[in-house]
Point group: D2
Chain length 251, copies 4
């Protein structure tokens, strides 16, 4: 019976879901047992049309739908539907809300909304994924962190607060669910992820050759690769927190 994989992403890292499939896709190519594993994806706004086509062309199966991850009922029905289709094996949460404001200019609305997107919705997704996985005694719940998960930098009161909060949810879930054979992990991406916007900023800051070495940015495929490494870990040696950065990054 096929197992289900779910990604709850957002449009700010639009490129990610597309690439996230890559390692799973490679695996499909090699491993007939795993072929045709269904993947459910959801994002806050646009559907993943190109992704859907690519997966289907490769002989895979994918279901994409729009989701407001801050709504408890929507999260419950999304995960429940996915689980009915194929028992939930992996749930990846990757909703971001990176903003920077001086503290005096951080409105209560911004503070609350950033928390709802980056922390509260992660709690909902993690809790509901656990609820589906626990009766079967296995599963993987992966949360996505950032530099701001560990550091409340100047101007990041809202974003770091939400990211710190999400990390605490992940820790508590890992300590509670790990002994029940559910691997909860927190991937910290200590770098900008390669998007058009980040590329433009690099060129402005570092000149026209700034992008000559693509490995100096974090490609979405490397984020996906990192989830894949976490997924492959034997349960005798699980990692809770995996921090990744490009080889040339200052830290």
């Amino acid at each position: 019976m096929p197992l289900g994989r779910v990604l709850i992403g957002d449009t700010t890292q639009h490129a990610l879901p597309d690439q996230l499939l890559q390692p799973f896709g490679e695996q499909v190519a090699r491993d007939s047992e795993r072929r045709l594993k269904p993947l459910e994806t959801a994002c806050a706004q646009e559907a993943f049309t190109p992704l859907v086509k690519e997966i289907e062309n490769a002989g895979g199966e994918i279901h994409a739908r729009t989701l407001d991850a801050r709504k408890e009922d929507q999260v419950i029905s999304f995960l429940g539907d996915a689980d009915k289709h194929a028992p939930l094996e992996v749930c990846i949460f990757n909703v971001g809300a990176n903003v920077n404001f001086p503290i005096l200019d951080t409105t209560e609305r911004v503070f609350r909304k950033v928390w709802e997107m980056a922390c509260y919705s992660g709690f909902l997704a993690g809790r509901e994924a656990a609820r589906l996985m626990l009766p079967r005694g296995q599963g993987n719940i992966f949360f996505t962190g950032a530099t701001a998960s560990l550091r409340g930098g100047s101007g990041y009161a809202a974003f770091a607060s939400a990211k710190f909060g999400l990390r605490a949810v992940a820790q508590a879930a890992a300590r509670e669910l790990g002994p029940k054979n559910i691997h909860v992990a927190h991937l910290i991406i200590d770098s900008g992820v390669d998007t058009e916007w980040v590329r433009q900023r690099r060129i402005e800051a570092l000149g026209p050759n700034a992008l000559d070495d693509p490995d100096l940015l974090m490609p979405p495929s490397s984020v996906a690769e990192s989830y894949w490494l976490l997924y492959q870990q034997p349960r005798s040696a699980w990692t809770f927190e995996l921090e990744i950065r490009p080889f040339g990054e200052k830290w």
Copy 2:
């Protein structure tokens, strides 16, 4: 002109505000310059009647009022009133919301309310205190943390998430406001605070002699003493995070 001190506390650590005054009170006894400094206090529910009497009997001045610290307009008017009375010099935030639930039993309502009490209201208090202090180029904003500020333990998804989030607010505020001469600090109390409820649990767990050494619990006066130490620091050697525990505590 007298300077103002404000405490935003809650009723779960009912004993705290009473004791918080102690070091200030001692100072009053010694130091005539500082006598009669006004202190404003606010808490979520009951007024601080015994405290008010004690301070007034000692010749001090105190104003207590009820506050829902989760309401932006109430926080603004409370701090604004205090500041009109005497320019705000110290703002201590100590609203807690310590709960423990398995993650599946953590309702979205609990998760949200704990965050509103322990994190969001701290953001509001810190931001508004900063707004009043910045034009005068000085001030002290102290947030209160707990063991759960650093560790997302099993059953603490809600509480640790809020406490992690508050710590991030404090860090971001410290990095932004420190160079503007406002001392932002985060006091981590790595221990139960001595209340009737904690005493009963100790006796049940450790037997009738469990309370023979009062220094094995954290007395509210020691929390107050720790704020006092932070307050006394020269700006050439400020501490952001101060972790305290009783001498016999395991850590």
Copy 3:
């Protein structure tokens, strides 16, 4: 041309080197390009006779020799010889010295020796591996940590001091060598590793069924697997510190 892999281990985790080869060995079975990669191993005392036989029987190539890793000249000649045989691609340092003494009973001889074994020799190995790798602009240097790398527990003044020190060496090396395309990582094993001695202690503490689930201990093969995951990371997403523990471990 084959690339060289080196392990500097010790006899206290006697089983490790044997298993370390497993992922490389599996790879050999799959991937003819990588077949017959030479592996050099060194340990403080006994030679790895059984390991050598196993690898050679599998059609691999291995060279084992005895080494006092605290002697600069021996480390230089060991790594130099290995590099002449095949350019050094991976250097894993895994010398331990886990002891527990009350601080008053920690002799200066013990304190110094533990440091020499667990920290100083790691510095030597890392520095000399880097010296060989830098001219070729690539390589992997992996250090092995323990719970005591992050926590100075009671009775661990000597061991934790050495392990903290090794972690600092790894951090400094990672920050300096990462931008030069050398992946330096620090693997923290937050668990006892499965050896006969640990098994006996588990049975004494938890009863005859304590070992029924082998995944509750850290098998040496899982340590090896973790190094393998680090080795596989794309340089656009390197991890410096990887902490691993069995799924049922308290943390």
Copy 4:
């Protein structure tokens, strides 16, 4: 009966001992009970002639002598002599060895010597102070850390390794000795300390007005003040680690 205080410092922070006395000195002025407390000091090279004169002129008592803090017998006899003179109440360890070398240029001699000065000698001082304090069931042992206690920066393999190691000694000692009523603390100075050399560098980097605000550097007196704060803490609320930095410092 007077209680004894000991400082084991070095000449690189030559100004420190002088200032360390200041808070004790102020206390002397106020508090006749504490007047004339003897203070023993030791440093690696020069005697503290000016300091001795200042203290004696103020009516205090001080004994200074030269010490190689890396020699177990010298540490034992120094602390033993001090304790005979007046029972040891406070022992402050502040030997530094801040060097920066690329890892390939870090000789084994430098690596070892930095460790002996900044870590090994701290272990000796802490252990021997504990040995004298334990029978009396009280005391204070304070170690001095730096930014490199928490971060192995590029070029700091030797220094950070020693400072990490000292921190582990302090942690292990605190966990073991705390419940026995000995306050062990680790003061992290996250800043350059104000010395002639640092002043020159600031002027070169920031121009002639760089020193206009003395609070942007860490004056030795603020280091002393921080020890004083630690010393004043009630045992119901001890801090293990105190990190200090000037208000304008980036972190």
